[in-house]
Symmetry: C2
Subunit: 325 residues, 2 copies
Amino acid sequence: MLSEFDLIKQYFDRSRPGKAVLGIGDDCALLAPAPGMQTAISSDMLVEGRHFFAGEDARRLGHKSLAVNLSDLAAMGAKPVGFTLALALPSADQAWLQGFSQGLFALADAHGCELIGGDTTKGPLNICITIFGEVAPGHALRRDAAQPGDDIWISGTLGDARLALAGYNNELALTAEEQEAAGLRMHLPAPRVALGMLLASQRLARAALDISDGLVGDLGHILKKSQVGATLNADALPCGPVLATKDIGLRRRFMAAGGDDYELCFTAPVSSRDAIIAAGAQCGTAVTRVGVIDAAPGLRLVDADGGTLALQLQGFDHFAGTAGS
Amino acid sequence: MLSEFDLIKQYFDRSRPGKAVLGIGDDCALLAPAPGMQTAISSDMLVEGRHFFAGEDARRLGHKSLAVNLSDLAAMGAKPVGFTLALALPSADQAWLQGFSQGLFALADAHGCELIGGDTTKGPLNICITIFGEVAPGHALRRDAAQPGDDIWISGTLGDARLALAGYNNELALTAEEQEAAGLRMHLPAPRVALGMLLASQRLARAALDISDGLVGDLGHILKKSQVGATLNADALPCGPVLATKDIGLRRRFMAAGGDDYELCFTAPVSSRDAIIAAGAQCGTAVTRVGVIDAAPGLRLVDADGGTLALQLQGFDHFAGTAGS
């Protein structure tokens, strides 16, 4: 029987020199913040049956658990430093732990983000990560900083994760190849850390967030915090390659209100356009201009001809239980 | 139906000037670390049926969820700064949320510790708090710093929380008054933050931890990390007032290997004795000298006459499922 301490030692304590002054194994971890930098902090909790299917591949789940947290740092423009992992497990299943820790550390290492502490306990499967990053004072990409006239930009593509969900749920029929390709976007999101850091450090963007509950709902948070409105061009939204083969109604719906995209939505002055395109090229992430921030409140969705689209779209609410209203 | 955002706004977002540069409502919270200070970080996850009974009073649970985290800062000698709260709830029960948030914030305010962010989701009840404190470089009370000849000290009293558990589980019969009095120690632990900060800032103690899984098991972590041994005087252990009325065998067992005490166990040079007693008096926390750190490995439990006690005692292991072996 694997004990709690053996479990931590075998799968999570890598005992190697790192950024933490003191890592796993004491009452607290100790970090020495870089002089003058602010600490960005975010927590995400993933629950089986809610954020992932029961029986989900452990390695993919390790990746995704950290990816959604890295995405929050990306949305702030912060550089990843470290994270804590609190894990409730039904049992100490060694094959699961092996896969989960491999997926977790592969992504952590790619971003120089160190596991510095946490907690393990028995219970219904629940993964809670708190992540720490650093950002220079005044550089963070906040939700309340959008200004009328700003362009609205999206990184990467939208909608394939939602398409994969629709396939799993038999909302629509996908081929095995489509399901697999779209599923990768759902299971292995790529947090846009490098892009977020460039946008913040070069002061290219004003407001930003990551799209986790659907573009329209999430952009609404920027509009509310910044006390502005927006016009989005539905035909400019960058479509995931699998969704791109589907009909226009489905495309628009899944891009505008899909969820699980983990792409950045950010606003920036018109004067930043060339530099934003260069920043996207520098880190290998597509960036697409999809709309404009308005002084008038409200979110207007238009097509390429400027016609208004009357889509009723809402973000995902964890207590309402489903997307939409 | 209370939405996720309404829930956060109504019960957890107090929108008042605080220590955070940016608090609840963005992708990350932002903290400006005090210049030159290290950040102490700890996470604890509490699972229903594991760390607390189903149906536990929400206000007490709010207190305890934060208390166990504050206790980790206390064990490091760190000053509380802020915390994140990730909460999985079976439903958005407003009476529960009201009680939980009241218990949580009452303790948070008493320690100047601010809720800066978190996550809420639907799922089996699970409470995960990550806490942040600050401590001067070189002052943290680490587990690896005990030295042969150090006194071993305990704050407060031990065993009443374990006695309460025994009553709830019908391991033994308690009167209603005994159950209530001992139960307070289990449900409303008092984290020894002020004492820990004095021990660290005045450099009175060397190693420290908080006793959550039972004294013998937890002290074992200090011994292992510090590569030393210890002799504990079982008759010197400070007994909780309810347990004090029980027989000596039960007293010794519940004090030495009870769990849920959230008292500090720390080691200190003999030269610190008077100052430690003064520090305890200053913050209203009893401090008791209970043993000595030895160069020889192993933990010896003796009685007041120096006779060896052959107690087989182990700490609580969350995957083994029960205390002792």
